[in-house]
Amino acid sequence: MDNPVDLSTQLGSLRLKNPVLTASGTFGYGIEFESLVDLNRLGGIIVKGLSLKPSSGNPPPRIVETPCGMLNSIGLENIGVEAFIAEKLPILETYHTPVFANIYGSSIEEYAALAARIDSVDSITGLEVNISCPNVKSGGVAFGIDAIVAASVIRAVKKETSKFVVAKLSPNVTSIADIASSVEDAGADAVSLINTITGMAIDIRTRRPVLANITGGLSGPAIRPVALRMVWEAARAVKIPVIGIGGIVSAIDAISFLIAGASAVEVGTANFLNPGACMDIIDGMESFFAEEGISSTAEIIGSVVL
C-alpha cells in the first residue's frame, strides 16, 4: 500500500518509517507474529527483555485481568541474550524493521555486560534499558525509582555501546520529570515511558493475593491517562525524544501521546487483545493525518494546546 501521508518520525539520530513500535514483553521476539502481522510495516520491534543468562521467571499464577487492564508478574522470563542472538535474530534480520533489544540486569555490571555484548551485533539498532527491575545490591529496590541510580545505569550502558540507548522509565516514582532529566544528563538518547504501575489483586474467598508474586505490573487502557500525563511531564522536562507507552489500543490513543509530546509510541497489551493492533493503529493514523491535512508526524508531536 502506498503511504498517502508521511508517517515517518525522527527519533534523535534515528529515522523510523512510522512512530508505532511494539512494547517489550508483549511481542515476544517478533517472529511469533510473522503470520499475523506484516513485520515490515512496524516502526520498530522492541523484543522481550533480555538478561545475560536465561531466566525461568516467577511461579504461577502470573497474570490476572483487572478492570480495563491486567496485572502481570512474569518475572522477566527470557531465553537470554546469547540464545536470542543465535536463534531469533537471524529471522528478524530478514525484515526491514529496526530491532531494539530490551535489557535488564540485577546489577549495574550486568547492564554494562549486556550493552557490551549487543554493541557488537550489527543488526540490532538500539537498546531499551529496563530500569524498573530490582537492584539486588540495594535489597531489591528498583534502579529506576532513584534519579542518581537510574543515571548510573544509563551511564554504564552508554560507556559500553555506541548504539542508540532508550531509558525505559518506571512510573512508580514521585517525579517522572526528575528521573527523565537525570537519564538525559547521563547520556540517554531517548526515554520511553511508562513501564507498568505496581498493583495487586486479592481473592476474597481464599484471602490470598491472586498473583503468586503478590504484586504485579498493571498494564492496558486502565493506565492510559496516567501514562499520558507522565509523557507530557517528561516531554516538557527533556530535550531528547520521548516514546509514549501505556494502554494504547487505537490510533486515537497513539495520536494523543504524540500530541502530548511523544515522538513515537509503543503498543503493548493491545497485542494480546488483537495481534493486528499495530497494523490497525498505523492505518488509523494514516487516515487521521489524511483527513486532518496533517502532512508529517513532526507537525503533530508536542502540539498540545494549553
Binding site: T26, K48, P59, P60, R62, I63, M70, I74, E77, P275
Partner: protein
Amino acid sequence: MTDQKIIQENGIVVKTVPMGTDCRKITLDSPEAFAEARPGQFVTLAIAGMDTPLLRRPFSIHSISGIKEGRCLVDILFKVVGIFTKNLSEIKNQGRVNILGPLGHGFTWPKKSRTEKSGPVVIIGGGIGVAPLLFLAQSLRQQRPVHENSRVFIGGRTTSDILCADDFTRLGYKVIISTDDGTRGEKGMITTPFHARLSDSRPETIYACGPMPMLKAVFETAAEHKVPCQVSVETVMACGLGVCLGCAVKTSSDDIKFRHVCKDGPVFDASELWMAS
C-alpha cells in the same frame, strides 16, 4: 509436525445449541485454515465491540463439523461462567466473533501403518472437560476402527453436566458415566470406575481433560499401570501465542521449571507436569 499457519479473522455464528443447564455449543463459520486444526488445539475469541472483559478468551476446539467452499465450521463447547461466556452465548446467528488460531500443541497418537491394528484407548473427561475430547475421539475413529476395549469415561456433578455421551457412543466407544449425586451412571467421582476398569484391559494411551485434581488422579492411576497419559490443562491466558508467558505451569523437572500452556500445551504428557508418587 507440519507448520501450521495461525490466522485471525472474523467468524460468523451460524448456530447456538443449549447443552445441559449452563453450557452451549456454538458453531462458527470460519476460514478454511481451521480445517488444519488438530484435536486438543484451541482458539481464542474476542467479541466485536465488547471491551469488558479486555482479554481474549481461550476455548478448545470441540469439533470441525464441516468444510466447504473455502470455509470451515468450528464448534466450540463452553460453559457460561462469566461475562464473556454469557455474551458469547447471546450472540445471534450471523453475529461476528473474532477467532484466532489454531493454537497450541494438541493430542498425539502413535503413527501406525494401515494394516497395524489399533490398541484400545481410554478417554476421560470431567464436566466441560469433554469439550476437546469429542474432536479427539472423532479423529482417532477416522484413522481406524474403534478398538472393542476402548472406553470413554465422563463425569459430572449431576446428570445435566454429562455432555456428548451419545456422540461418543455413536462413534463406537463404550461410554461409562458417573455423577457426584448419582442422578446418572455410577454415583461418585469418575476416577473411581476409571481406576477399577483399567486393570481389565491395558489401554495404549489415556487422554484426559477436566479439573486439575481429576487430571492428577488420572495421572497417578496411569503411572501405576505404566500407561502413557496425555492431559489437556487450562490456565488464565492473555496472548495465546507464547509471548506474554502468563500461562506458565510448573513442571516435574528441575531443568525446565515452567511450561507454557498456550504453546507447549494445552495438552501435555502428564509426566511432564507431575512425578508419580
